[in-house]
């Protein structure tokens, strides 16, 4: 980044979380390789999409971990593995020390309640034929969270209130609401399960800026009020910086950098993280005109045949001969600041 845009030290840090020591989530050497098949009658596996290719990280109780990177780098797949919506090719996912990968359907059941997700497009994930009341009460009935139907109705109104909607929304259909309102319903639906951990997958990305700010504030308030832990997947780095305690940067199925939020934005080390930050336009014409843009070349390659050595080397300004040969080790270069690059 140029001097003009060097990110200034933060004055405010997100509310320090009590008991930040315990890991709620541990992801160890996670791999998710999707088979690519050819042939209709007798499908044959001809290759694998290495969507996630050996990543390790943890999330502490009450912490918000940001996960960023260009589309196709494996963020959603990582989230889906944690949610147990995909069966990983390799690696472990521990929740409160319990390995979820080994659990049967029945043993998994309590975790399906504790781990929730909020998607980017609330519209496609809300049943268009159900009123909001049913959308919110149905999962509480199925999971026997609130068995009594009157109590459930009351809880629906409470949830609407928590996400800043008036009770009259209970009788509306999803198509009768704006994008921001539907996203609030998506959040309310997750909260209905009394979750501990929420995967927010591009949860605010589709919203207009004024509405996005409202929903970000809501997610922050809920985190503080209910002691929630988030995996916050997003491609908007300014939003991630605002909301997260720590940030992980992914590229082509690998983790390239991981650090405390302020450390990552004040002192980005991996050339890919720097390139991402450089690409973000700052909403200030004076700063922008003084900024030197070193725009990253090319596009993220196919995860079917990832480049050899460091997967980032074909687009990297710092790459040397060795980068196309050896896979760089993910190393702790400063306390809590991990980087997979031999040239920094």
């Amino acid at each position: 980044m140029s001097e003009a845009t060097a990110i200034r030290k933060s004055e405010a840090t997100p509310t320090p979380q009590p008991g930040l020591q315990e890991n709620l989530i541990e992801v160890r050497n996670l791999k998710m390789h999707f088979p690519v098949t050819e042939g209709i009658i007798i499908p044959k596996v001809v290759a694998h999409v290495k969507a996630v290719d050996g990543i390790t990280f943890s999330i502490k109780k009450g912490e918000t971990l940001g996960l960023v990177g260009e589309s196709g780098c494996g963020k959603t797949t990582t989230g889906r593995c944690i949610l147990q919506l995909e069966k990983p090719t390799a690696g472990d996912i521990l929740y409160n020390g319990v390995n979820l990968n080994g659990l049967g359907n029945k043993e998994m059941s309590p975790y399906r309640q504790k781990i929730q997700v909020i998607f980017q497009d609330p519209y496609s994930s809300l049943n268009p034929r159900m009123k909001i009341r049913e959308i919110l009460s149905e999962p509480m009935r199925v999971h026997n969270i609130v068995p009594d139907s009157h109590a459930r109705d009351k809880r629906v109104l409470e949830l609407l209130n928590v996400v800043g909607l008036t009770p009259r929304f209970a009788d509306r259909y999803p198509h009768e609401m704006s994008g921001g309102q539907r996203q609030r319903i998506g959040i309310a639906r997750a909260l209905a399960m009394n979750p501990e951990f929420i995967v927010c997958d591009e949860a605010v990305s589709a919203l207009d800026v004024s509405i996005q700010a409202q929903v970000i504030n809501l997610l922050e308030d809920l985190r503080d009020e209910f002691g929630l832990t988030y995996l916050f997947i997003a491609h908007d780095l300014s939003v991630v910086r605002h909301l997260c305690h720590r940030v992980a940067v992914m590229y082509l199925g690998k983790m390239v950098e991981l650090a405390d939020c302020d450390e990552l934005f004040d002192n980005p080390m991996h050339p890919y993280t720097r390139a991402l930050l450089d690409a973000v336009p700052i909403p200030d014409p004076t700063i922008e005109s003084g900024r030197q843009h070193k725009i990253i070349k090319g596009e993220i390659p196919s995860p079917i045949n990832p480049p050899s050595g460091c997967v980032f080397h074909p687009r990297c300004g710092l790459a040397v001969d060795g980068c196309s040969k050896a896979v760089p080790e993910f190393k702790e270069l400063r306390p809590g600041h991990w980087v997979a690059c031999t040239e920094v």
Binding site: T5, I7, R8, K9, S10, E11, A12, T13, E70, S71, S178, G179, G180, Q181, D208, V209, S210, I211, Q212, A213, Q214, I216, N217, E220, H235, L237, S238, V239, R241, H242, D262, F265, A275, L276, L277, D278, A279, V280, P281, I282, P283, D284, P285, T286, I287, E288, H293, I295, I296, K297, E299
Partner: protein, 332 residues
Amino acid sequence: MTTLLEIEGLQTQFFTSAGVVKAVDGISYTVDQGETVAVVGESGCGKSVSALSILRLVADPPGKVVGGKIKFQGRDLLQLSDREMRDVRGNDIAMVFQEPMTSLNPVLTIGMQITETLQHHLGMSDEEANARAVELLGKVGISEPQRRLAQYPHHLSGGMRQRVMIAIALACEPKLIIADEPTTALDVTIQAQILELMKNLTREFGVALIVITHNLGVVARYADRVNVMYAGKIIETGTAADVYHNPKHPYTLALLKSVPRLDLPRQAKLDPVEGQPPDLARLGPGCPFRPRCRHAVERCARENPPLEQVVPGHYSACWEKSNLTSAGKPIS
């Protein structure tokens, strides 16, 4: 600089069962030759409809341009015959959309789509058109252009498709390109590549650009002037520097304050505008922003403020515009 496009009091409405949607409600602005003008605002405020109105591409029914003038190089586009208008679209004004997949023809090769434009509008022979297509693809940063000519849109990534759209837009050597959210569907890295490309090419060819976006950073980086829209109207207009450093409309102020910024210390809490934009089929008499406005006075409920000059070149549609300070706080 000479004025290329002059829009005066443009009004476009949709006649629906729910009532008349005043999608564009009397907007006026100009674009000079070679200039980049941004139109910014949240979804549903009328950005796309205003752009489609310029090219007379609004679906009729239900839509109709019901008032105003669109003067392009002195001629009012609204008075042209359909045939003359097709010529304008082919030769003078090109459009680039958010999702290139829907504007590219999926069953035609990239080459056919570019050469068609060249042959149809510039009367080139096969060989000339082919050579020019290769040159254009090279210009928009597509590697191995010769080979790409034979590929279909689905063979390309989103960023590459947008480059092809830009090549097609440039093919007819237009004087104006209207880009509607050209990078909204792309990653920031690819967004930066595409916008930089558009900036360099519009400079090189002296093409004027109207860029429609909801991204305040994109405006700051690329636009000379900016029109901020709310509920079908331009509520503030001026140079990017004036509008960003000295916003004179509470909505602009609120927008600027609601985005977290990488260059500023992290805020404890964002300060969003509460509420939502109004339903354009049910606008009352006063200022449409009033229900969300922190600076509203009694008059705002009765009279809709006109766009008036604050300083030369900088206009705002707000009764309280002289009471907003540069720091963005009202004078108490």
